[in-house]
Amino acid sequence: MEENDSKYQAFFVNSVKYMTLTTTKFDKRKKWQKADPREVRSIIPGSVIEIFAIPGQKIKEGEVILTLEAMKMYTKVQMPFDGIIKSIDVAKGDRIPKNTVMITLE
């Protein structure tokens, strides 16, 4: 077997190069990204029932800014810290998947 055998690709484990094949699941894995605290994301798929904030509004930590219905339950989404609403990224009635940016803060 030659190193330039085109079937195999370079793969690094602990900074050592191995020639190998990969699996579909490995290729499809999601790259990790650092979460931006200014983005309020859905942690569960659901529907936006009510939005209580408007852009530019100053809101205190813990206040409810949005109600999301998921799995037959109304989930209250709270302000994560004292701040100002930069934009509302969803509309009332929207059906959204998990990890959707719902509200952006400043």
């Binding site: 195999y8 050592v16 191995y18 020639m19 094949l21 699996t23 990790w32």
Partner: protein, 514 residues
């Protein structure tokens, strides 16, 4: 005379009940490319060996006009028969009867045959082809599922339980197969999911086909729920018939001994493995080179391909093989491969099948996704399974045995009975490149030509540690052997271990990290 009339009446009733959902429903079943429940049972069991029970059981639904409906056998066929003249219990859901939906009596029939199988200590084969719970029967359907799961769990590790998914298997129904030992799926026919595409679309707006969501390949390759993938029902039945030759009928027995066959070597075992530890090869070629007749029956072939598991025979006796696969992801250990191997090791241990481990891996797969997916917890399953197993355990280190992976792959320290190493083995705390960077950091940093110094130090480390002799000097491996001696050493070590006794502290059960 009336006696004859009774017999004729019985025959008539039987014939009618055996029609299941009737001609039209059978036509529909065939049009979907599926066999009927009865044909499936016939195809798996020895000819004319099937005996059916509860043919005349009727459903107990009394709401929503259900009392007016006749559902023959309540949508499931149960019975006993033989495979290779050995007794087995079997049930098959009949999709032609109310979509194979599960009501109370349907479940009672299944639990009846499960109870028989466990009491008689014979394997249980379940053929799933059902639309799910019979909604009209309400909580009784749920009760039925629960009673099946309870029995699956009780029978686990006592009798082999085989699930064959030949149609939809959705919602709660999927958990019975998930609790059994081996799950067989067929392309375009098997569909398994908790929540179907319809609900997912309504609730989440995500559009996906049944095949993409929970088809046979998805469960073989992505989820790891299925152990055997086939292109057709006939191929699937052949796989079942082959699997059953490798496993004992219950946990108090050993698998049937077969006539001894020498491996059929395509090339010398010395030529399969490249000496350069960075180059791949197919570990299955090594397994074939040491198994009787080079016959290796791989399990979960498409899932976590970086580890290979399956059955073969040595001197006619069934062996469970666990082997790193350098051809995929360099053979690393990760969440999925640890999970896959650990469950198989526990299967082998429960059913008295010796385990042969072939090791060639560079360590655990680095990455955020692995760490966050719980590689600590999943990796621990492998340590647990090997340490817990009391069947004969033999390890052959082919090339790389680095770090945590060296410990995990049935090392002496986890209770291996025999550990052999090829002269190409590199048993070390980490690969020479990484180790040299740490151990000789100062020398490398301060050298006039760091790159040259690094190369020199890597070589120094390699010469000193990347070999089997350091571990051999501590007795961690028993013998350094030539590749061509592998089969002979395995034969001998397994013979020596045949009456192995390895008592463990009394306990109700351990708490493995699952």
């Amino acid at each position: 005379m009336s006696f004859k009339r009774n017999i004729l009446d019985l025959r008539k009733r039987k014939k009618e009940a055996q029609q299941g959902g009737g001609e039209k429903a059978i036509e529909k079943q065939v049009a979907m490319g599926k066999k009927t429940a009865r044909e499936r049972i016939k195809a798996i069991l020895d000819e004319n060996s099937f005996h059916e029970y509860d043919l005349f059981v009727e459903h107990t639904g009394r709401d929503f006009d259900m009392e007016k409906k006749v559902l023959h056998g309540d949508g499931v066929i149960i019975g006993t028969g033989t495979m290779y003249n050995q007794p087995v219990a079997i049930y098959a859901q009949d999709f032609t009867v109310a979509g194979g939906s599960l009501g109370l009596m349907h479940a009672r029939k299944i639990t009846k045959i499960m109870d028989h199988a466990l009491k008689m200590r014979v394997p249980l084969i379940g053929i799933n082809d059902s639309g799910g719970a019979r909604i009209q029967e309400g909580v009784n359907s749920l009760a039925g599922y629960g009673e099946i799961f309870y029995r699956n769990t009780n029978a686990s590790g006592v009798i082999p339980q085989i699930s064959v998914i030949l149609g939809p298997c959705a919602g709660g129904a999927v958990y019975s197969p998930a609790l059994t030992d081996f799950v067989f799926v067929v392309e375009n026919i098997s569909k398994m999911f908790i929540t179907g595409p319809g609900v997912i679309k309504t609730v989440l707006g995500e559009e996906i086909s049944m095949e993409e969501l929970g088809g046979a390949m998805v469960h073989s390759e992505i989820t790891g729920n299925a152990h055997f993938f086939a292109k057709s029902e006939d191929e699937c039945f052949e796989q079942i018939k082959k699997l059953i030759t490798f496993i004992p009928w219950n946990n108090a027995q050993k698998a049937l001994k077969f006539p001894i066959q020498e491996p059929i070597l395509m090339k010398s075992i010395d030529e399969i493995v490249p000496a350069d530890p960075h180059l791949p090869y197919d570990i299955r070629d090594i397994i074939k080179a040491i198994s009787d007749g080079s016959d290796f029956f791989e399990i979960m072939e498409n899932f976590a391909r970086n580890i290979v598991i399956g059955f073969g025979r040595i001197q006619g006796n069934t062996i469970g093989f666990v082997a790193n696969q350098p051809m995929y992801l360099a053979g690393v250990l990760d969440c999925d491969s640890s999970d896959k191997a650990a469950r198989f090791i526990r299967y082998c241990d429960a059913f008295n099948i010796p385990i042969v481990t072939l090791e060639d891996m560079p360590g655990y797969l680095p990455g955020v996704d692995q760490e966050h997916a719980g590689v600590i917890r999943h990796g621990a399953k492998l340590l647990y399974a090997y340490s817990e197993a009391t069947v004969p355990k033999v390890t052959v280190i082919i090339r790389k045995a680095y770090g945590g992976g060296y410990i995990a792959m049935n090392s002496r320290h986890l209770g291996a009975d025999f550990v052999f190493a090829w002269p190409t083995a590199e048993i070390a705390v980490m690969g020479p490149e990484g180790a040299a960077n740490i151990v000789f950091k100062k020398e490398i940093d301060e050298a006039e030509n760091p790159a040259e110094m690094r190369k020199q130090k890597i070589q120094e480390y390699k010469d000193k540690f990347a070999n089997p002799f350091v571990a051999a000097s501590k007795g961690y491996i028993d013998e350094v052997i030539e590749p061509s001696e592998t089969r002979a050493r395995l034969i001998h070590s397994l013979e020596i271990s045949a009456s192995k006794v390895d008592p463990r502290p009394a306990k109700k059960h351990g708490i493995p990290p699952f």
